[in-house]
Each structure stands twice: as C-alpha cells, then as structure tokens.
Symmetry: C2
C-alpha cells in the first residue's frame, strides 16, 4: 500500500482533530505529515516508530486536560514527549497516535533558596534549570549527558541519571511532588513541597520512571542542594579494566564520597582523542576519572590517587585547576558522540551491576565483543556499577546488525546474571521490554501490569512501551 | 455482652487456627487472649483497637506465605506489626484479625562495604543494624527516636525519619529493593541491589510508607553511607520562636548542610530539665541545636553561630567535645518522654511545613494552645520544617480530652493551610485517616484507593488504616 497523502490522513483523523481544535489554539496543533514525522522517534536504534495522527504542543494544564479527555473519548493513544533524547524508544510514536509534546510548557515557576525547591513545568530544559538555580547558590544535580537538550519532564519520565549519581543520586531523589493529568483528563496532585512527608502511598515516585505510561506530568516540585565547591578531577591510567575496577571498589569500601567516578576503556579513549583531539593517554586499557567537590578536594584526590596506585595504576594525574578538570570532564562527556563516529550506528547498553561485580561485567563484555567480532567500547559510571557498553555496527550490513542486536542482548543477560539490572538510567521503552519481563519475573510483571491498568484502564497512554 | 472466654474465642476461630497450624510450628502461634491483647495496639492515643484472633510469629518467608494464603482462603484480616512503637495506630489490631508480628525474622543477612548495602529481615531492630554496619565503617542514617526498639520492617512501613533527616533524608531513601509477600501469598521481588536502577515502575517506593496495607515485607536491601566524622553540636538560645526560625531559614538559605537542626520550645526544655536534670537554659523561649559531621565541624558551627547571633540569639554555646555534644542530643531525645510526664496523656502531632513557614507554624500552634487552654510543647526537626507539637492532657478529664483532640486536629489544619503535610514521618494509621483525605483531595484519594484495591482486592491487609 502506498503511503497516504496529507489529505487522506486528515480525513482519517477528522473527528480527532475537530475535538482537539475545540480546546487548543491553531498553533498548538501540527498535522503536516512531514513535520509530524520528525516527532516519530527518540534517539534509540532498532525501535519501531509509527506515524502520528497529530502533534500537539499545549501551553497550559487545561489544554493538556482537554487533550486527554479527547483521547479518552475517542480511544486514541497518546505518546508524551520531551526533547526525544531518550535511548530506549520510550517516546516513539505509534500509528495514528497523538504525540503530546510538553516542550512549550517551559516555565520555571518558583525557586526558593530557603525551602531549597524549584517548581517547574515539564518542558524546562535541564541545563536551563541548572543555570537558573545556580544564580541562587543552588544545585540541581541530575545531569544526563543530553542535559543541554533534555527536559525535566523527560528526565522524570525516564528517572534519568548522569555523572553526578555516585554522590547525588538520580532524578527520582529530587522529585518531591507532581501535578499529573490522568488518562481521563482529571488533574491529580501527588507528594509535597516540604522536606519530608509520608501522607499515603508514594505516587510521586510511582510516576518517576513510568515513561509516560501512567499519566502526563504537567508540574513538578524539585528538591535542590546548595551549590557545592568547584570539583577537582584526577585521571588514573590502568593496565587492565580489572585493575581499574579494583581501585573503584577500594575507593568506595574506604568510605570516600567522590562527586564522580567514571571509567573509559581503550576504545572509548581512542575515539574521544580522534573526535576531540583531547590528548588522552591512548596506551591505557582503562582510564579512571575521580572527582571531589569537598572543602579540600586536593587532599581527597591524593588519598584516592594512592589507592589507584596500589591497585596497579601506571599513572595518576590530578588536575591542577578547574580548567584542567573541566577538560577531563569534556573528554568524558564526548564518549558517546565519539563512539558514534566508529561505525554508522550504535546501540547503547545501560546495565547496572553491584559495584563489586563491575570487573566481571567489563571482562564479560569484552568476551562478548570478541565472540561476536564487534567493536564494543565501554564508558561507565563506575562508582555506581552502571556501564554503558556501546555496540558499534554498520547499519547497512545485515549480518553485523544482527550480531549487534544479539550482543546487546547478551550484555543484558550478563548483567542480570551478575545480580544487576537491565537499565540503570535510560529506561525500558520499546528496546528492552522483553528484558523487563525477565528482570521482574512473572509476579512482578503481573503487578506492574495491574498498576498500569489501574491508572490507564483504556490503555491509551504510551501503549507498547515497558510491557 | 460479656467478653468471651478463651475457649469461646477458640471455637470461633477453629478453622483459622487449624489451617495456620498446618504450616506453622506451635511456638509461632499465640492464642491466649491475655497475651494477644498485649499485641492489640501501638503507642498512639485515641485509636481504636480490636481483639486479635491470634498472634503469629513466623521465622521464614514460607511461613509468611502460608499465613497469607490462609488469610486469603478464609478472608481474615491481617495486621502486620513490628515493635509497635508507632504513633498513629497503624499497627492496631482489628477484631478477629491475625496479628502478623515480624519480630522473629530478625537476621542481618549481608553487609557489603564495597556495595554499601545491607540485606536484612524485617524484624531487625534499627539500633542493632546501626551498630552492626558501624563495625564495617558504614552508617545507616534513619534514626527515629524509638531506634533502640523499632524494627526496620516497621520503619519501612511508616517511612520513618528522625534527627538525621535534614542531611540524610528518611527511611525511603535507603530502601533499594524488597521481597514482599502479597495478600494471596505470592512472593514478589521489587527493586534492586545496585546503586541505580529504573526497570519498570518503582514498586519498592510504593511499599515504603504503605503501613502494611499492600503486602508483607519479608526482606529488604538497604543502602548505606560511609560513617561520617563524629558530629559536634551547638546550642543557641532565642528570645522567641520566630527568631529561632529566622536563624533556621538563614542557615539553610546560606547553603549550610547541618547533620541535625533541632528546636525545643520553653515547655519542652523545662520538661526535659525536670525529668533528666539536664541543666538546659530555662529562660529561653526556643533552644536551637545545630550539628555538623563535616571534616571541620568547629568552623561550620562558628559560621552558624554567627547567623544565630544575627537572628537575635542571646547565647550561643558550641559543645567543646563529643561528650558535651552527646549530652545535648540526649536532652533532645528526652523531649517526648519528658513531655509525657506533664499530664497523664499526650497526642503527638507530626506536621511538616515548608521551612519558610516554620515560624508561622510555631506561632499558630502557640495560639491554638492558648485558645484551648492546653499545654502544647513543641520539639521540631526544624531544618526539615517538621514539628512535633505535643498536646498534654488528663485522659480522665473528658472536657480536656475533647479539647486535646480538637487542638490536635487544628494543628493539622494549620499545617495544610501553610502548604504542609499532616505527617512528616509518623504515618497516617487510624489517627489521621480523615485528614489524609483532606490532604490528598478527591482525585488523589480515589487513585490511592485504587492502588490499594490492585494489591489487596479482598481488603484483608491492615483494613481500616490510611483510608
């Protein structure tokens, strides 16, 4: 069947568009299929994406309620979206759906230094919020690598993490309360704006990481920390991943609290040097970056440097100042873009294992790469045991693509075997839904589905994701 | 009707006891009504409590599963209990129920310094765990005032807090994963043992604070922190609660991170002196305790002391050493027992307001006390805005009891008016269930009930609590 033309698609969705228009201004609706197609998917490979009936860009809570009432009336699926920087297909459109983009609801409503909270709409960009609160001496820690693009609503949907987590935790720890538009258009407030609160079930946390499948977040109360001192970074070169992981375990077992503890393997280091001319040491098998934002970071780095040397580091270089530290962080942040230049496509795993199993995870990943004859570079939030093996492949090569997909899956199997999880911070989306079932087991899966059914009895919220 | 004798009660519950005995050793069942009566309620005033049919004390997960299967078969309500130190009636028995006490499941299964986790059974006493992990250089922060008696399972049920929360947060932040026996006896594992993980909905957090109404926690993976340096405490005297609250706001707005920030009003100070001969300054209207467990606590205390003076403190006394610090903490921990000596009974509120509203909350509470002609002493986790107004009354005096109950409620109404919550850390139980409905609103309440229905369709898990 030939693809439908614009007019034909319009006919199919006439009633839907008419009802939506009754409560939305014209500029909040996009129906041009060339444009709506650009909203069809996020940044994940191997994830199906359909053709949306319409993209809506509401600016108010009332507009979101109107959209959800319409969707419920007509039983039309709704796919909520932030900046579509996700890596699991969680924001991918399904055929005939309403894509509900929250990017126009982008106001910071309040920042309170005394209460250490911010109240925001879901479309606020992570970096915009981070900079705004910094002006008040405050710090919003979650820093996914897409922080210059991704939105707080998207971060909440995927419970996303970043480099900060080893000290400051993931997005979930910073969401105190939510306003949520339910599937039928009713508005529900969860949680609180106080430091503590235990009134009833924690529905706030239930929505964090629910990938838009339980309701539409239209407002969030976020916890903030005071701005920490400028962090200082150290780089340590190791002759093997095992030695680097031993250092990580020692650092954490001795009670250190680094503000980041990151690992890049040789493949990653070489790719970063090639893309960014960063001058990282290419002879190293594993480069460990540790940082402290404590009152005396140099002293903490010295102690950690000694542990690295004891674990076999061949070179330990503390940054001399903030500029050198920033350069090392830039190199780390460049890891994913750099790996993307190796082949035409990548798949990014997100397996998190107990820290004590990090060495086994890295060795096992290397063995999988060898077995499949693929380049799999690994960068890792090592302090959290959260690895991002990046499977590089040529999308035009069918056999290599198949091997990429299989190795991607084997890495998740290895993670589960080691007592880990298939996703530390990227979410399940479309990409890992079979694996979610394996991780949860039959009882867990059944209860998760029951929760979904409770909040979305018609199954119109981001269908086909998670389960 | 005269109370039934032992034999009569046994007849009523014959089938239940027979089925329970099929999967439990004799010593795990208590049917003597004199003994079961002692399991009827927790430490809250004004909360109804029924007569249990039986108290069961399982030692294994399989035994808990057997109990829940039996309860489901026979539609018998189950009331889970820890140490019954709760303050909201959440562990109170209902007539003919099975009291399911988890105190015999008290093993610490694992402590890992590298992974910074402990795996425990629900009956482990908070202080026992705290001391056990301290031997490994680790720290389990949640420290409710009943920490020498209360169990981890009970702490999870109520999401309890303590003095540590201003820096370290409540129990919820430390629960990574759970094994839960569902209402029908099936075993479900939630969450993870890794530092991060976002696979599916956060059911772990849903169970934390659910007061035994969704399932029975039989095992928990807890996050640990490295042991911090010994904290040093400062005491500051203020001529008014308002001045003390101004100091609290300044301390937090300036980015300080105290390890505790507590307030005791004049009534509390006098009661503590009377009970414990602590020699606290009785002329003060509000005594503020601040502590730091940083590398240089004396320097941090000096900075905070200056802020106190600027806010009007008449006296600022930093402790000279750990012993003096411990003495001040003991005085604070004595607040509730001391207030209990003022009259024959107390009701303890647990209102948490945004920190910026703490002054208004304390002034409003004083006005309520005056209006009702009652003694209401206040101690507060001031850094969190979490106040514990303690209403003192003579339980034999009907009119005073009525006024106590009414003022207790008015304090919650004031908290909600100020943007706060009716419970910061004690839970809802029986005592505040009408107030939960007011805090949540109709949509929130309906969805919370729907979640309850999803996990407990027969309504056998701790019925009559929360809603």
């Amino acid at each position: 069947m030939a693809p439908k033309c614009h007019a034909e698609i319009m006919d199919d969705h006439l009633e839907l568009l008419e009802q939506l228009r009754a409560g939305l201004p014209d500029e909040a609706l996009i129906t041009d299929p060339d444009v709506t197609a650009s909203y069809a998917h996020d940044m994940a490979s191997f994830c199906e994406a359909g053709a949306p009936a319409v993209v809506v860009l509401p600016r108010t809570v009332e507009q979101v309620q109107h959209i959800m009432r319409t969707a419920t009336d007509l039983r039309v699926p709704v796919v909520p979206q932030g900046a579509r920087t996700g890596l699991s297909g969680g924001a991918n459109a399904s055929d005939g759906c309403i894509v509900l983009s929250l990017v126009k609801m982008d106001r910071i409503l309040e920042i309170s230094p005394v209460d250490r909270i911010a109240v925001v709409e879901p479309g606020v960009v992570n970096a915009v919020l981070s900079r705004a609160v910094a002006e008040h001496g405050l710090y919003y820690p979650p820093d996914p690598s897409s922080w210059e693009q991704c939105t707080i609503g998207g971060n909440i949907g995927t419970a996303s993490g970043g480099l900060c987590c080893v000290k400051y935790g993931v997005t979930a720890e910073y969401v105190l309360g939510l306003d949520v538009v339910l599937a039928d258009g009713r508005l529900m407030r969860t949680g609180r704006r106080t430091a503590k609160g235990v009134a009833g079930y924690d529905l706030t946390r239930l929505f964090v990481g629910s990938e838009g499948s339980l309701g539409i977040v239209v407002r969030a109360v976020l916890a903030l920390k005071p701005s920490p001192p400028q962090q200082l970074v150290l780089a340590a070169e190791f002759p093997s991943a095992a030695a680097a992981c031993e250092a990580v375990c020692e650092i954490m077992a001795r009670g250190h609290v680094p503000s980041l503890l990151e690992l890049m393997d040789r493949t990653t280091v070489q790719a970063v040097n090639k893309l960014g001319h960063m001058g990282l040491p290419e002879s190293t098998e594993a480069l460990l970056l540790a940082a402290f934002d404590t009152p005396d970071p140099a002293a903490d780095l010295a102690a950690v440097g000694e542990l690295c040397t004891a674990a076999g580091a061949t070179q330990v270089v503390p940054a001399e100042d903030a500029a050198e530290s920033e350069m090392l962080l830039q190199a780390r942040r460049m890891s994913l873009p750099a790996m993307e230049t190796i082949k035409s496509a990548t798949m990014i795993d997100d397996v998190c294992v107990p820290r004590s199993k990090l060495g086994a995870m890295l060795d096992g990943t290397a063995a999988i790469a060898a077995r499949y004859g693929l380049t799999i570079g690994v960068c890792a939030h090592a302090g959290d045991g959260n690895t991002h093996p990046v499977v590089c492949f040529d999308a035009a090569d069918e056999d290599e693509s198949r091997r990429a997909r299989e190795s991607f899956d084997e890495i998740m199997a290895l993670g589960l075997e080691l007592g880990g999880t298939i996703t530390g911070e990227h979410g399940v989306g479309v990409l890992k839904k079979e694996w979610l079932a394996r991780e949860l087991g039959p009882v867990g899966l059944e209860m998760q589905r029951a929760v979904k059914q409770t909040f979305d009895p018609l199954g119109i919220l981001n269908p086909g994701k998670l389960f």
